[in-house]
C-alpha cells in the first residue's frame, strides 16, 4: 500500500546535540557560558549576547503549557491518521519554549494554559526520539 511517512527531524551540525540527547532520554537546551541565557531552537551563537560559548546543558524537563491546539484537518497527509491530535507549546521551568505533544492518554478536556507538564519520550527509530509531554505528577 502507498503510505506517506511523517516528516522527521533532519539534524544539522547546529542541532544534532539536541537529538543525540533525546535519544538517551535527556532534554537539553542551548546554554550560553557568557551570559547564562538558555534558548531553543539551538544555535551556535547566543541571540542575547552573541557569544560563541554555547553548549547543550540538561534541563529538568518540567514546565507549563503555554499554548495548545487540536488539529482536526492536518496540513500534511501523513498526519491524517492521527487527527484530531494536539500540539502544545511548553514553557520550560528554565525559560525556553518548545513544541511538543501531550501523550495520547491525556484528557484534553482537563488541559488549559498553565497546566504543569513533564517530558517523556517517544522513540521513532534508531536515530530519532521525540520529546513528548504528560501532565506532571507530584508537585
Amino acid at each position: 500500500m502507498f503510505t506517506i511517512d511523517k516528516p522527521l527531524p533532519s539534524p544539522t551540525e547546529d542541532t544534532e546535540g539536541y537529538w543525540d540527547a533525546t535519544r538517551e532520554g535527556k532534554l537539553v537546551v542551548s546554554t550560553c557560558a557568557s551570559c547564562a541565557h538558555r534558548f531553543l531552537p539551538p544555535a551556535k551563537i547566543c541571540p542575547k549576547c552573541l557569544s560563541s560559548e554555547v553548549s547543550f546543558q540538561p534541563v529538568s524537563g518540567r514546565g507549563r503549557v503555554f499554548s495548545w491546539i487540536v488539529v482536526h484537518r492536518p496540513q500534511h497527509p501523513a498526519f491524517l491518521e492521527d487527527a484530531p491530535y494536539n500540539v502544545v507549546i511548553v514553557e520550560l521551568d528554565e525559560g525556553p519554549r518548545m513544541h511538543g505533544r501531550l501523550v495520547p492518554e491525556t484528557d484534553l478536556s482537563a488541559v488549559s494554559v498553565g497546566l504543569p507538564v513533564e517530558v517523556t519520550y517517544q522513540k521513532i527509530n534508531d536515530q530519532i526520539t521525540l520529546p513528548m509531554f504528560k501532565a506532571a505528577t507530584g508537585t
Binding site: 541565557h37 491546539i69 487540536v70 496540513q75 500534511h76 498526519f79
Partner: protein
Amino acid sequence: MSRHPLKGTHALAGVGLSRFGKVWGTSCLGFTLEACKNAIEDCGIPRDEIDGCLVSMPAIMGEQHGWATRIAAHLGLEPRLACTMDMGGATPIGMIQTAALYIEAGMANAVICCFGMQNNPQGIMPQLFGSQFAIPYGDIGAITFMGHVARRQMHLYGYTGPQYGEIASAFREHASRNPSAQKREPFTVEDHQRSPYIVEPLRLLDCCLVTDGGGAVIVTSLERARDLKQPAVVIAGAGQEHGAEMIFPAPQRNQAPSGAGAARAAFGMAGVLPHDVDVALLYDGFTPLVMHELEAFGFAKHGEVGPWVATGALRLGGELPTNTHGGLLSEGHLFGVGHITEGMRQIRRSAGERQVQDAEVVFVTGFGGAPHEAPPTLSYTTLVLTQDR
C-alpha cells in the same frame, strides 16, 4: 520636526489584478504577467519607462532564483533594477517601499511590483516548510501558528469565538458588495460558530481562502503619476518591523506587541494618528491576526479588541471600516495586493457599493515571513495612502 524625505513624494500610479479564484489553465508566471499587463494598462505608462521590476518570491511553487529578472524578460523589459523579495505576505508593501527608495535615490523612475500564486490544480504538494522542532508534531504551516496565537489571546484577554466570528462575518458582508470576490454569500456570527474546527480554536470561517491569481502595482514619483491616466494615490507614510515575539520573545525586545513599530513609523511619517484612519485594510490570513493588528497598531486598547470588534466597529458605517473588499478571508488570498488595490480604489473613489465617503486616510498592512518556523519569524509592513491635494 523635519519632513520625512519620502512623505508625499511618490505615488501608486497603476494597479492590476489577474483573474483570481480557482482558475485553471495558467501558471504562477501567467498570473504574474496578466496582472502586470493590467497595471500597465490601468495607468497608461509607456512600457519602456518602467525601469525597475520587483517580484515576490513564489516560495512554495518551486521557482528558482533570478525570478524577478525572468518576469522582466517576459514583460519585454530591460530594467535598471530587478530583485526578488521574500517577506511572505508582507512583501507587496515591502516592494512598494523599496521602489519608492529606488526612485528617491535616482536609481529608477518607475517600478513595477508584482506577484503570482498558483495553488490549483490541487494535489501539487507544496514543498514542506517548517522547523525540525515543530513539524514532527504535526505543527505545520501558518494555520497552527495562528491557532496558538488565538489560544494565547483567549487566555490573556478572554476573547470569545463569536468575537472572532464578527470579524469574519463583517468582511464577508463587505465581500458581498465586491463583484470579483471569491466568496460573496453573507454569513452570521452563529454560522461562524457552527463551522467546523480546522485547528481548534480556529474554525473554518476563521481561515483565509486558497486563491490562484496575481497582482501588480506601479510606483513612480508623484510628479510623474499626475500626468498618467488615473488619479495619483499618494504614499504618505510607510513602515516595517520584523521580529519573532508573538510566541518566542526575542530576549532583546521589549514587550510591546509585535508590529507596533511598523504602524508607529507609518503614522509618524504621514503625520496622522490611528483615529484619523478612514479605511483600514489589514492583512487577514486568520481572524486572530486581525485582533492582534488592531491592538498592535493602536486602534484599540490592550486586551479590549474583542469587545470593541463585537460592537460592529469594523463594518462599513462602523467606527473603523476594515477590509471593505472582503480581505483574504472573503475576497481571496491575493497576498495583500488585494488590500493595496482596494486602498487605491477607495482613494480614487471607485469602490462602488462599498465606497467609504470622503475617505482621506487609508491604512494598509502586510504580514508574513515564516510563522511556521520555530521561532516564528514575523514581518509587518505598513502604508498610509492619501489623495493628491
